[in-house]
């Protein structure tokens, strides 16, 4: 495992990580830290990343987990002032960020969203409250059971809509500045 964040949360926070794919500009990552009641504490987003031809050739099928999970995901999570108690993502390749952060990583599925088109494989699927979730087969559900129980009424998919709008707004607002 690469770097581990030693920061401890002052209050329980939920992390939401997504990556938007744009045909021309490439990948843009967004990471939102919320209170457990859904209010925003921090937002981090990357400048667009476009894999080079070399990366595409050399990484092969590992390119997406590398870009989503390590390159974008890990970078964003490390920018947070503290680690979330649980990290949600709505894109399967971003589950790879779990190798680099201590927080459990959970994928939120929707029955109509893009995840449906790319049904994740090798995952444990389950429901928690109103949410359809997936975790890597290697992950223990007991590890996240307590956090999920307290989020039974929380719509875990909704914050990703906020992230997408915020990324679009940030991109309209000018080029990203290095943090």
């Amino acid at each position: 495992m690469a770097q581990r964040d030693s920061k401890s949360p002052q209050q329980p926070m939920l992390g939401f990580l997504t990556v938007l794919e744009h045909e021309q500009h490439g990948l843009t990552g967004g990471y939102l830290l919320l209170t457990t009641t859904g209010r925003p504490l921090e937002f981090h987003c990357t400048a667009p990343v476009k894999p080079s031809r070399a990366q595409q050739i050399l990484f092969g099928p590992t390119l997406a987990p590398y870009l989503y999970g390590e390159h974008i995901g890990q970078t964003l999570v490390m920018k947070g002032s503290a680690l979330p108690v649980i990290l949600f993502t709505d894109v399967a390749p971003a589950l790879a960020v779990g190798q680099f952060v201590e927080a459990p990583v959970v994928m939120v599925l929707s029955t109509t969203g893009r995840e449906k088109r790319a049904e994740p494989t090798g995952l444990q699927l389950f429901c928690a409250g109103q949410n359809h979730l997936a975790i890597p087969a290697s992950e223990s559900r007991e590890r996240i059971a307590a956090q999920l129980e307290s989020l039974a009424d929380f719509d875990c998919l909704e914050p990703f809509g906020r992230i997408r709008e915020a990324i679009e707004e940030a991109q309209r607002g000018g080029s990203a500045k290095a943090a």
């Binding site: 209050q11 209170t35 009641t37 981090h44 400048a47 915020a166 290095a178 943090a179």
Partner: protein
Amino acid sequence: MADPAAAPLNVSSWARETACANLFSLSTATSPLDVLTAWTTASESVAAVSLDLRKAMPGRAVTLTVELPKPRLKVQSFRFPEAVAATLSKLDFPIPSGVGFAADAAAAVPLRQVTRLRPPADIVKLEDRLYYLLQPSLEAVLREGSLGIPFQPFSYQMEGIAFLYPRFAAVLADEMGLGKTMQAITAVRLLIHAGELRSVLLVCPKPLVSNWRREFSQWAPELPITIIEGDQAKRRWQWQSVESPIKIANYEVLQRDRSQALDVGGSFDLVILDEAQRIKNRSGATSQTVREIPRRRSWALTGTPVENSAEDLVGIFEFLAPGLLSAEMKPRAMGRTAAEYILRRTKDKVLTELPPKTFRDAEVELSAMQRESYQLAEEEGIVRLTSLADAATIQHVFELVLRLKQICNFDPATGDSSKYERLEADLEEVAASGRKAIVFSQWVSTLQTLSERLRRFQPLEYHGQVPTGKRDGVIEEFRNNSQRHVMLISYGAGGVGLNLQFAEYVFLFDRWWNPAVEDQAINRAHRIGAAGPVTVTRFLALDTIEQRIDQVLREKRELFDTIFSDAEPQRALGLTHQEIFGLFKLQCPSGPVRLAA
């Protein structure tokens, strides 16, 4: 194709030179060609280094170890410390014990509805825009913790709250009866709980203070409010008090306590003007006072942002965003400029579930005695105006208009009234069916005459001569007593703020100069909670000044529609001096002038 093993091969040096790198080891025992092909592709456009493969022994493994850089990734970060304070326990005032909604109040929040905040165009800082964009839906916030809401709001009301929430200057101009009060209170409530407001001043007409108190207790029972009232010493203390985050003052008190309102030890986070058309006259004392109140946010609530002319809107915007609008702007340009700040919805657009409103124009012929009195008064008046020639003023014309309108109501000599006969017949039907009706007039004397003649219907009166302290009792009596079928109301006292949705009939016994005032009156009954269709009867005495005024009212509606819609103006708008004198086919003695309400 050249043999890659036959000559030195150029490959990229960019990886090797990178200190922070991922390591990729690629090896092959049989086909260095594949690796080399990959590398040549990968290093197409970068500086080259030499790798001499002629030393490689045929049939032996060749290992290439190449460092791949991990490219830098630019990240933009935003932090919102406000969220930390957004809990009830962080509020600056004590929440009285035992207040709040029932435990299941969150259930009134619509589950499937999602209303998101949108940053207004005048918020330019990206961090501020993202702050609003990243907020949870209003429904999620209301479901949170102990907030809740007593009744399920309409979706347009949630949109109205989302409109007000992020705005520092806003006009909520919904048609009367759509719940502006509830929307403003809920927006204030959410902002207070989000830690964005600590001091709010609400200014409203005096008769509406008790209404606001009631609405606050219904929609935000946990928020303590202070009504500025009582003797001077008490009011001075109230202006300085920080015990409650919300102060409510009527316009007259504000004017009287001007110096204290302007010196509250800092600025208000928000000042709300209810019935904001009160400040349409920019040179008026009220307008000047409210503009001087130190504040961060300014909201105006009005169902009639334009009553007479486009200048009314300019007056309101002098409070909201001074200089944004000017009286010289054309109505369409004014509408475009103000659009970002104004939210206006009409019942027919958003309340499809509201019972219909039906208009009936009761066109009556004057009785013979009325006609005789009318003609005499008109002839005398015109003779007088003509004799005044250039000395004739609008005031002279108004005096004649009022005199003629009164004759259209009741003949002063005989008491004859065609309108009354029609009204009485209609009220018979209303009472027989167990319904309730409200009758509007601009004159207390007319209402008192009606009260006397309609005695068998036990009519109630609500006008300027009814003491303020008794008015709530009148409304309650009308609401609760099934034997009370008629209430007689003056436009001045009952045009705003009254909730009479249990009345299904509205009679406009005489017409006001201003269609917005008429709308206000009609919407006392036709509003949320209306039990059934509302029938509005507009009396009009044929071939009289009333018919000519009706034409003026239609023109004013055109003005309103021009500013608040994209429709092209149909004709020149506004009333000229000539048009006013033209009511009596007279030539105006001087240039254009605006007509007062």
